[in-house]
């Protein structure tokens, strides 16, 4: 998984899937413990339904309609209940969640989506504290163009992706401080906004030897 290979950069689902696959690798490498219960429940519901269908198929094949007639209706009802539960889980519980992980009493749940014909990665991170359940969960909504971490010929580059995630989601940033970068101004801050007190801070920072460590690694 470390090198997923090149993808077609105009294929939006390729972009999303490759990024979605890279995300758990990165977070797990930061010692987040990945929780699979959402996927596991979905798989269990789905496979239970398939097993019922398969069993009915087998007995229908070997014993015929007359022998299986009495069991067909219950099996059909059970199948569609499980199938309905599967779809409900997929659409209303998982809702595009691709990663749930836990680290030091903080639970991080990440869902992603793309919109049609728009190469932007939309990510929603929900941070809950498992240590103190009364704290309301924090939700962050982020968007980033895929071009930020794909080369023009479709190679995924991990570092800008990791920097983006670490800088935008605080829990990731805490786990991986080396990848935290700061947004440097791009000329949208007018001089009028810079008050003397802030200038003093900047001067102090420069005197003390440039505390903004990652800032210089940021690529435009």
């Amino acid at each position: 998984m470390s090198s997923p290979g090149k993808i077609a950069v105009y294929n939006l689902s390729d972009l999303k899937n490759t990024t979605d696959d890279a995300l758990p690798n990165y977070l797990n490498s930061l010692k987040f413990r990945q929780l699979h219960y959402l996927t596991d429940v979905r798989l269990a519901l789905g496979y239970a339904a398939v097993i019922i269908g398969g069993a009915l198929f087998y007995f229908d094949w070997t014993l015929g309609w007359d022998a299986t007639k009495a069991y067909t209706l219950p099996a059909v009802i059970a199948y569609f209940l499980l199938n309905g539960a599967f779809s409900y889980w997929l659409w209303f519980v998982e809702k595009g969640v691709i990663y749930v992980g836990e680290k030091q009493g903080t639970k991080l749940s990440i869902s992603t989506r793309t919109e049609k014909h728009d190469p932007t990665y939309h990510l929603t991170a929900t941070i809950t504290s498992t240590a103190s359940p009364s704290t309301p969960p924090r939700t962050l909504s982020l968007s980033v163009p895929f071009s930020r971490f794909y080369t023009s010929d479709g190679q995924f580059v991990a570092q800008p992706f990791q920097q983006w995630l670490a800088s935008s989601v605080p829990v990731v940033g805490q786990a991986d401080p080396n990848n935290v970068t700061e947004e440097i101004g791009r000329g949208n801050v007018t001089e009028a906004n810079v008050g003397p007190s802030e200038l003093k801070d900047v001067l102090n920072a420069l005197k003390s030897g440039g505390g903004v460590k990652g800032g210089t690694r940021r690529r435009g």
Binding site: M1, T72, V76
Partner: protein, 174 residues
């Protein structure tokens, strides 16, 4: 394509296989649900011969209903003959007994010269409504069943189609 598949996590592979299995099993269970609703082991059949022309052509799709066993003369029924596995679609031209005795039927294809006695099993002269008939025709769609005629006449097409379906569902992650 396969390289991409090999790089997936076990759960992702399980999920891809599940997608394929759900497509197949949903189709099968819908069919079985229809079977239960119509009380017929095979609620949709395709006309395979021209023996009912001009009412039905080869390839017409027929919808069967098997509740209410009091079949009348003039109804079109689908029946199975013991020892033959192809269902036959023909019109009822006589009925016998009924009431306390089991209802028996004689059928004939509209386009055939003689009645179906020749088609029945050896020594059989009538159809028993309860056991031989799998339903009477309640509706039809012309021609759409022709695909299944092609599939049954060229069995390799089935393998190709199933294989392609499987591959696309497993490999595609849309």
């Amino acid at each position: 394509m396969f390289g991409q598949l090999a790089s997936l996590q076990p759960r992702q592979i399980a999920a891809q296989i599940l997608n394929f299995a759900l497509v197949l099993s949903t189709a099968f269970m819908l069919w079985k649900g229809l079977s239960v609703a119509t009380n017929s082991p095979s609620p949709i059949v395709v006309v395979l011969s021209g023996s009912m022309e001009p009412a039905f052509q080869r390839g017409d799709l027929l919808f069967l209903w098997n509740r209410g066993m009091d079949t009348q003369v003039g109804e079109i029924v689908v029946y199975n003959v013991k020892g033959k596995d192809i269902p036959i679609v023909h019109r009822v031209i006589r009925r016998f007994d009924g009431g306390s005795k089991p209802l028996q039927l004689l059928t004939k294809g509209d386009n055939n010269v003689a009645d179906d006695t020749e088609l029945y099993a050896r020594g059989q002269r009538f159809l028993t409504r309860e056991t031989d008939v799998i339903g009477s025709v309640r509706g039809f769609v012309p021609l759409v069943g022709y695909v299944t005629i092609l599939l049954s006449e060229y069995p390799w097409l089935k393998t190709v189609m199933l294989g392609l379906m499987g591959l696309t569902v497993v490999l595609q992650r849309e």
